[in-house]
Symmetry: C2
Subunit: 500 residues, 2 copies
């Protein structure tokens, strides 16, 4: 602990000095500019290998309680700032992974600290209500000023949940209920339905399905997991449903050189979607909905064209399936639009849109026609957490005040251009550089090289993540600026040069 | 809003006055006694019908965003204190339902407010980490001083989750992995397993099952929902698994009069459990685990004897099934022991115990032999929330300092004795009064009478809840004292007298 304090002092004094020397590295929060000038660190500062000795000690300690094989290192969140994550050994790293894409406006943003410090907010953090039965006075108002102020086109209903998996699980349930109601018409539940549902049997529990895509990731609870197909280790040994799985386009890059091939590939996948809908209807496992990520964000950062998604949406409409866009990872602004599906430019993009991560709370928006008619059908004790809605309101204020969507476009352009440049210089290490906003990625030759690149980068002070079996993904915060992108590219260039 | 402020002032000034007049109603937090004397209100104070005009207005407003048919009324959490919930119309109610059993030590407990006010805690609320990869420095330490300090006997491993459903979903997954590993022996995953798991098929996704009980409630995500059998409305229209469902004993009261009948009933249910395990193994839907609540807390407050559970645990062991005790509602102290299963007096009560609600965070404890060998198998972005662990630490301090388990025994005795007395005087309205600690309930003749009793009680200033199809359940906080029980009984006596 004494060592920690010492490190902290060194870090802070270095920051003070370098702030004067390198004003380009300064970060000023626009939202708080009037009263508050907040400084980020000026760059990475490495003291040990990562994980360092203190992290290794803590990993050992935590290992007595749970499996820690996924732990990268332990963090000092108190000292972390903006895009800089500090570990318990005093290493300061530029973070382009941001807690698996879940930190919207950087560490310790002053606007969020203020939310905690305001006495009128205290009760919201201390008294977590059962939102479905006893909401707080400002519940609807807070939903209006937070989630509904960024609601996707045409979706005026919203339900909050505690995490991404619960969001998709409940979105699927909503879709199943809606579909069954369409079939049922005006009739109420039959006695046979009521009785059979209690013992998991049809007709009460019908044999419906959700169509998903190979490579997709929608969560790890058992409904979600039946639609997740990113890695076997997520799914092994867990019973599942026989639901249709369509191929997701595997585009060739650079896109402009493979226009025809990619169009054919997307047409093939869409045809397969329609075939599966027909086939599963015949199998009596009717497809009630289609779920898709705008960018497959765990399964390899797989993109498809806007046209692919527009046609997919049309297929859903044609066959009477609900269209659910899973924006758990893509939502919140890093693609340069608040929702990635806005890039498709559609008037009626979706029936349901799920979210979590950067939005601090899980949940989903949906059309009014999907709204449950009875109480307690989409329900649980907490149904989200108003303290997270409070934080989200402030995050949205900062996004607007600091023009962070535009920032994602600009810093994303620097990042992607830089990756394309690196790709041309290190073609044996990088390929298929791609992205939207800062939501970028590239492929490496194989898993081993990918993992080596991630570790080498970390030891040089930048945190990046893997995606799929050999891709590297970038998921920086929304306060990731052009100069951060330049800084990353310089460091990563060194990493690549060393790998030669 | 002006009306609200006025109401608030009236409430506060009434509180000031009545505090002097009625010292018996005073509530002093022992934990905070040295520096802080905190007052609860002295009793209910009703100004309008519930929901009152302001609640009705807010319900209308929220109705534009989501179905509000389950909303009871809107709350003023800022002004709520201890066992008293205040609504937006200024009605002050004695709360014996505590947000579906999820408020451990009352509203606005000073110890919890202090957690929020301490500057060193701020970062924990502002920077929610991806716990599985980048835990904060004090993560293991906080788990030790919070969850592990109350860990069930023999369960040294713990994993946190964001809600009760996710806790059970992941506990089921853990059980399936463990079971498959037993079958697999030392062999690794086969290529066939890896490939088939990606498309939801066996052997990668085996046809395992979890045995549950009719009347049980274990959550609403699709894995949990396959084991939930409390009400049809929870399950209708949602695809499910063909998993075995055993009858849960339906005991006759008073227990001392029906010893033989109840023993026979429990023996019948246990026999059925064994039959189902054999039958489902033959059907190739091997029972990997059994899940049970110590008291069926949603499905009608159904109790069984300690002996029943001991025998059930033996059956699980005999057939090699994991035994999962779902303590989401019963855990946390209101039965008079921290875990309800402690009443069974066993050395080896469980393989897995899940929790949520009063523990502020979801999660589950488990034996070391169930620990996953590989990373990322029990995983999600957040894996709980360290800010909830902070609050839980403080809750546990208060439980110890204020001797709240013992308090639950004492106030629970007053409550149950009172209910038995009311039952003898109003036998046409109350029957089967039962409970452990304050975790009490009774039956009413039917759903309509039950709901009328709940509404009448509310309008007289006490909040109680329904359970199953005709029971009323009590789920007060742990700071519910004997005098609160007396107060409730007096008011409820009036309600019953009016129903005559």
């Amino acid at each position: 602990m004494a060592g920690m304090l010492f490190t902290r002092h060194v870090t802070l004094s270095l920051q003070q000095n370098s702030r004067l020397l390198l004003p380009c590295g300064r970060y000023i929060s626009q939202a708080a500019a009037k009263k508050n000038v907040d400084f980020e660190y000026d760059g990475p500062l490495m003291k040990t290998e990562v994980p360092g000795p203190r992290s290794r000690e803590l990993i050992k300690q935590l290992s007595t309680i749970q499996n820690t094989d996924a732990v990268h290192f332990f963090c000092n969140y108190e000292e972390s700032r903006g895009n800089y994550l500090i570990d318990v050994d005093g290493n300061r790293m530029l973070d382009l992974y941001s807690q698996i894409s879940s930190i919207p406006i950087g560490y310790n943003h002053p606007a969020l600290k203020k939310v905690l410090q305001q006495p009128q907010n205290l009760s919201t953090f201390v008294n977590r209500p059962a939102l479905g039965i006893l909401p707080p006075e400002n519940f609807a108002e807070k939903l209006q000023e937070s989630l509904l102020s960024v609601g996707p086109k045409g979706l005026k209903q919203v339900i909050t949940m505690s995490c991404g998996s619960c969001s998709n699980e409940n979105a699927y349930k909503l879709i199943f209920m809606w579909y069954r109601n369409k079939e049922r018409g005006q009739a109420g539940f039959t006695k046979e339905e009521l009785d059979s549902s209690m013992i998991n049997q049809s007709p009460g529990c019908p044999d419906y399905s959700i169509l998903s895509f190979m490579g997709g990731f929608h969560g790890r609870t058992m409904g979600c997991l039946a639609t997740t197909h990113s890695k076997a280790i997520h799914k092994l040994d867990i019973p599942s449903f026989d639901w249709p799985i369509a191929p997701f386009p595997r585009l060739k890059y650079p896109l402009e050189q493979f226009v025809k091939e990619n169009q054919d590939e997307e047409a093939r996948c869409l045809e397969e979607v329609e075939d599966l809908i027909v086939k599963y209807r015949k199998k009596k496992k009717t497809v009630a909905g289609i779920v898709v990520e705008p960018i497959q964000s765990e399964g390899g950062d797989n993109h498809a064209s806007d046209d692919f998604f527009r046609k997919l949406r049309d297929i859903a409409r044609k066959h009477g399936c609900a269209f659910l866009i899973d924006e758990v990872q893509t939502g919140g602004g890093s693609t340069g639009k608040f929702w990635a599906h806005e890039h498709w430019g559609m008037d009626d993009p979706a029936d349901v849109v799920s979210f979590s991560k950067k939005l601090m709370t899980g949940g989903f928006f949906h059309k009014e026609e999907l709204r449950p008619k009875e109480p307690y059908r989409i329900f649980n004790t907490w149904l989200g957490d108003p303290s997270k809605n409070l934080l989200l309101s402030e995050v949205l204020n900062v996004i607007k005040a600091e023009d962070l969507l535009n920032n994602a476009v600009q810093s994303g352009k620097v990042l992607l251009d830089g990756l394309l440049d690196l790709q041309s210089r290190y073609p044996h290490l990088l390929s298929r550089a791609r992205g939207r906003g800062t939501f970028c990625s590239f492929d490496t030759p194989n898993d081993a090289t990918r993992n080596k690149l991630i570790l080498q980068a970390r030891n040089k002070g930048v945190v990046i993540g893997g995606s799929g079996d050999k891709s590297i993904r970038f998921r920086p915060t929304l306060v990731f600026k052009e100069h951060h992108a330049h800084l990353f590219l310089n460091i990563f260039n060194d990493v690549l040069a060393d790998m030669k």
